[in-house]
Symmetry: C2
DNA sequence: GCACTATATTCCTTAAAAAGAATATATAAG
DNA sequence: CTTATATATTCTTTTTAAGGAATATAGTGC
C-alpha cells in the first residue's frame, strides 16, 4: 500500500507529470527540464527526487550533468502499468503538446551556461 | 491534465484506496464503510465525495441510505484503466486482505442503529 | 406536525506538501 | 589549489489537504 501511495502522490503534481511526458521523448538534464518548465532549479531537483523515489524515473551522471530518463518500471507493479499508459494519456493536452514540440529545440550547451 | 491530477490525488490516500478495494466486492453504504474502516462518519463522507468527484465511485439513494459502488470509469480515460488494474493491485496487501475477509460479516441492520 | 436516523456540510485546527532563498556538494578546467 | 558550473540539500514560509467537533439536510415512521 505504501508504495502505491508514493506512486500516486508523485503523479499528483502537474509539473511532475509534465516531466514524465517530456522524458518519454528524450533523456534530459536538470537544466533542460528547468528551461522547458520555467521553474527554479531547486524546484526541479526536488520534483525529480520525488519521481525517482516513486520508481518512475532514473538518473545517470555524465560529468557535471545528471541525465534523467524514464525508469524501466520494475520497482513496483504500478509503475510499469502507469508508465505504459502514460505513453498515450495526456497527449491531447495542449500544454503538454506545446512542451513536446519544443523539446527538439532545447540545446544543453546554450541552456547551461 | 486537471482531471488526471484529480484522479491521482483521490488515489493518494490509503483510506480511499481501501474503500475502492472493498467496493470491488460489494456495494456499501456509509455506515458499513465507517464500521469497516473504523473512521468517523463525516470523514467517510468526505473521502467518498473526493472519490466521486474523481469519477471513481458513484452513489445511489435508497431511502435513508446511500449506496456507493464503483463507477463504470467512463468519466475519463484514466479512471477506467486504473479501476481495472486495481482489481489485481494490492490484493496481497495484508491490511486489504483482512478488510475483504470481513466484508461478508458486515450487517447493515446491526451497524446502522 | 414531531422524533429519529443516515448522511452531508461547515468551521476550525492540525499535519503535510510545495515554493523560495540561501547554501552545500561535486566535477571540470585552468 | 582556485574558479566556475550543474545539481542537491537545507531551512523557512506559504499553501494545501486531512481530522474532528458541531451542525445541517433529508428521508422515515409515528
Amino acid at each position: 500500500m505504501k508504495d502505491f501511495i508514493i506512486v500516486m502522490k508523485a503523479l499528483s503534481d502537474p509539473n511532475r507529470v509534465k516531466i514524465i511526458k517530456m522524458l518519454q521523448h528524450k533523456s534530459m538534464c536538470v537544466c533542460e527540464i528547468k528551461a522547458a518548465l520555467k521553474l527554479p532549479q531547486p524546484s526541479v531537483s526536488k520534483h525529480l527526487k520525488i519521481l525517482e523515489k516513486a520508481g518512475l524515473v532514473s538518473s545517470q551522471k555524465d560529468g557535471l550533468w545528471v541525465n534523467y530518463h524514464l525508469s524501466n518500471g520494475r520497482s513496483t507493479p504500478y509503475t510499469a502499468t502507469i508508465l505504459e499508459n502514460l505513453k498515450h494519456w495526456l497527449n491531447d493536452d495542449s500544454e503538454i503538446a506545446r512542451l513536446i514540440e519544443k523539446i527538439p529545440f532545447l540545446n544543453r550547451k546554450e541552456l547551461c551556461s
